[in-house]
Amino acid sequence: MIGQITPLTGYLLVAALLFSIGLAGALTRRNAILVLIGIELMLNAANLNLIAFWRYGPHPELLTGMIFAIFSIAVAAAEAAVGLGLVIQIHRHARTTDLDAINRMKG
């Protein structure tokens, strides 16, 4: 099993590693913006998976993987914009972006 390291396996492992690093960061950091950075890393890891499977998959001429990744990039950018807008507005209200301090619904 270990001897079967193909290029595709390498890319998938890197993507899995990036995903877990992003997840770890999103779950453990206090600053809301760093949580969003972790989420962006997770989305990028998924993009890497898509492109790797497109390249080494059965039908690369259909371009499905590449188009999926391009749409994913666009949607991730939009989501980052809205998420950061929310963080800025929360900061205006609560004077902090520390997630351990904003953990109550009482305004």
């Binding site: 890393l41 590449m66 950018a77 939009a78």
Partner: protein, 179 residues
């Protein structure tokens, strides 16, 4: 599994680790930019030219700058009191490690059953069955976007407009009432 792949993978993972571990938030954002650049180079290594350049243009040119502006507007560049990791950091780390273990097991266990095209050229499978790099031109992407994938294209256009208007409204100052 060439040297270039190892170097780029190391760069990307190092950037991601730095982005999640550094104390200063702006340094984290800059390390994230390094991770994005590493990913764009990995895309180029996979012969996905358009996706690689779009990654640089959108992520480094727009999302990274957005993150940095948000950090500056929320006073994130000042050193935080009370540590940068939350109280429940061990649980988060364990969960992420478990997720990585599951993924790595899934990838390693399915390695023998990957499609023929992904296997490196060995004596049993001559090099002719390894898929050559697909020659993708921008024209093909354009035709695919306006042909087979026109519905997702239109939906993403609507989504981007909604996100644009929504982000502006969410982040707008409330009207100051006349004192």
């Amino acid at each position: 599994m060439s040297l270039i792949f190892y170097l780029l993978a190391a760069l990307t993972v190092a950037g991601a680790l730095a982005a999640m571990l550094l104390k200063n938030t702006v340094h984290c954002a800059l390390a994230l930019t390094v991770a994005f650049a590493g990913l764009a180079l990995l895309f180029l290594n996979l012969d996905a030219q358009f996706a690689g350049f779009a990654q640089i243009l959108v992520y480094i040119g727009a999302v990274a700058i957005l993150v940095v502006f948000a950090i500056l507007l929320t006073r994130g560049s000042e050193t935080p009191q009370g540590g940068v990791f939350s109280r429940s950091w061990l649980a988060g780390l364990t969960a992420a490690a478990a997720v990585f273990a599951v993924f790595a097991w899934a990838v390693a266990a399915s390695a023998p059953r990957l499609p023929r095209a992904a296997a490196p050229a060995t004596a049993a499978t001559p090099a002719s069955t390894v898929s050559p790099a697909p020659a993708v031109t921008v024209e093909q992407i354009g035709r695919a976007l306006t042909g087979r994938y026109v519905l997702p294209l239109e939906i993403v256009a609507v989504l981007l407009t909604v996100a644009l208007i929504g982000a502006v409204i969410v982040a707008m100052h409330e009207k100051v009432e006349a004192k």
